[in-house]
């Protein structure tokens, strides 16, 4: 894959938390203009990967290039410039609770630009219209439902017209209707705004409906890569376990523990 088509390029990535390896030798490419999903069981470090891509964490080894910038050596000022071209949707929305919906969406514009008030108003209303919440502009974040919060956060993430839009678990805790709305927005925004979307999720069904490419992570490595259809028939047990939602398999049901019977029979304390 060459430089022109992939906007994020990860090579041989190593990352450990307190000596516990999260990633070892991870390779991953995010292709420009597509919706790429990163999936995997809980605890495989999907969110950590996002933090590495966005420069909130620094890798221990290997390389991460985002839009041509080396994330391991990038200077803080350049990192902030790069982040203006990225939008991120946090799991819980992360709206600023002391600002109204309108002011939340206007926040990046007010911080980074000196646009006239009239133009800020129009831009914010346009983005709110895109997520269907123009009518909620005057509400406070505490008054919003989970789905609405995430849509406002999405409007805020696109208000600076980013090139890359990152979604961290966008479907968690949403009702089916809200899920459908977010799903449609991911696809529509990606195609209409001509951006690159990275979706981290473990919702197999939703991802199958929206993603162009899926990476399945497990044990710090990419275990499968392909279109959602290809993954359905992937010749690997762990992929089958994940896609099929089986309780036991290569990812064991039991957390590692001493032998069950001997622990029950012993008089010792809990290990």
């Amino acid at each position: 894959m060459n430089q022109n088509t992939s906007i994020v390029e990860i090579r041989n990535l190593d990352y450990a938390v307190r000596k516990r390896p999260i990633f070892s030798g991870l390779d991953l490419d995010i292709v420009r203009g597509r919706v790429t999903a990163i999936m995997g069981p809980s605890g495989t470090g999907k969110t950590t990967l996002l933090r590495l891509i966005t420069g909130q964490l620094t890798a221990d080894g290997g390389s991460i290039h985002v839009a041509g910038e080396d994330m391991r050596t990038v200077r803080r000022a350049d990192l902030y410039l790069l982040r203006r071209r990225m939008g991120m949707l946090f799991q819980n929305g992360a709206l600023l609770t002391d600002l109204s919906v309108f002011e939340n969406v206007a926040f990046p514009l007010r911080e980074h630009t000196r646009l006239p008030e009239r133009l800020i108003r129009d831009l914010v209303l346009t983005k709110l219209q895109a997520v269907g919440l123009r009518g909620a502009a005057e509400m406070m974040p505490a008054e919003l439902s989970g789905g609405m919060t995430r849509r406002v956060a999405l409007a805020r993430a696109i208000v600076m017209d980013p090139q890359i839009l990152i979604y961290d678990e966008p479907f968690v805790g949403l009702d089916p209707i809200s899920k459908g709305v977010i799903l449609r927005l991911i696809r529509r925004l990606n195609d209409a705004l001509d951006l690159t979307s990275i979706v981290v999720s473990h919702d197999v069904q939703e991802i199958s409906a929206v993603a162009d490419t899926v990476y399945l992570l497990s044990g710090g490595k990419v275990v499968a890569r392909g279109t959602p259809q290809e993954l359905q028939s992937y010749p690997s047990e762990i992929v089958r376990q994940f896609i099929g939602g089986l309780a036991d398999g290569p990812v064991p049901f039991h957390y590692p523990a001493p032998d069950y019977f001997s622990e029950l029979l012993s008089r010792g304390e809990v290990h």
């Binding site: 966005t54 909130q56 902030y80 410039l81 982040r83 203006r84 990225m86 939008g87 991120m88 946090f90 799991q91 819980n92 992360a94 709206l95 600023l96 609770t97 926040f107 990046p108 911080e111 980074h112 956060a153 805020r156 600076m160």
Partner: protein, 255 residues
């Protein structure tokens, strides 16, 4: 377990903590000039830390002053010098009680609010979200709160002393019958500019200490319900101890 070793380790930990707080203060000071350009952010925080603490400061000032009037009157009456009540109350309030009690109340009212607000912002990813929007949370969130607290604290201490003197007058003159003229004239004659300066310097330094502790604890709070709770508690406890310790140092320095 070796108690000596543990003591040594906890000592090292405290020194490291002090270093971290100092480094944090330097970071805040470095960001201050740029934040001053956005004074509207600071004004809002002066309102949050200052104006919203007014009621508790004024009420406490009134009662402290009233107690001072009562106790001072009883003590001075023994020497037949009740007229000195004005001087005694004013000096006690301006030099000591004003700055110290205000700082303690400030830590309890505004400091806890700052710490829990910042801690919750961290726990709900609001600070990370700002980072992702290329907005430095230190600059946008922490420094305005810090400066707001630093500005609000001396003002609150002044109001506290003012109301306190009124409270002392209320009890001393109106109830216990000290002559009003000598109460005020002795106060004017007995209180030096030096005394007022001491109060101002103390309250400014307490303002820096309390605000710094509050934003530090909040900003570095463990992002869980328990962590935010602990940060709030530590804000009050640390502020109280630091204020009383600094008060001794400053009093000694002004002698």
């Amino acid at each position: 377990m070796n108690p000596l070793k543990e003591l040594w380790e906890s000592l090292l930990e405290s020194v490291a903590g002090l270093g971290a707080v100092t480094a944090f203060l330097m970071r805040l000071i470095m960001h201050t000039p740029r934040t001053l350009l956005r004074f509207d952010l600071i004004v809002r925080q002066i309102f949050n830390s200052g104006a919203l603490s007014l009621v508790i400061i004024m009420l406490s000032g009134l009662f402290v002053g009233m107690v001072l009037g009562l106790q001072g009157f009883q003590l001075l009456e023994r020497f037949g010098s009740e007229e000195a009540l004005g001087t005694a109350a004013a000096i006690g309030l301006v030099k000591e009680l004003g700055p110290v009690v205000t700082a303690l109340l400030f830590a309890g009212r505004a400091g806890t609010a700052l710490a829990s607000e910042l801690g919750l912002m961290r726990a709900t990813d609001q600070l990370s979200a700002m980072e992702m929007m290329a907005v430095d949370p230190i600059q946008r969130v922490v420094v305005p709160r810090f400066i707001g607290g630093v500005i609000a604290m001396p003002l609150l201490a002044a109001i506290f002393s003012l109301i306190g003197i009124y409270g002392a007058q209320l009890v001393g003159v109106q109830i216990m019958g000290v002559d009003s003229g000598s109460f005020w004239s002795q106060m004017r004659a007995g209180v030096d500019l030096r005394d007022v300066n001491e109060g101002i310097v103390k309250s400014c330094i307490f303002g820096v200490a309390c605000s710094l502790i509050a934003v530090y604890e909040g900003y570095y709070a463990v992002p869980t319900a328990e962590g935010v709770g602990r940060a709030t508690t530590r804000t009050v406890v640390t502020s109280a101890v630091v204020v009383l310790f600094l008060d001794y140092l400053l009093t000694a320095a002004f002698l």
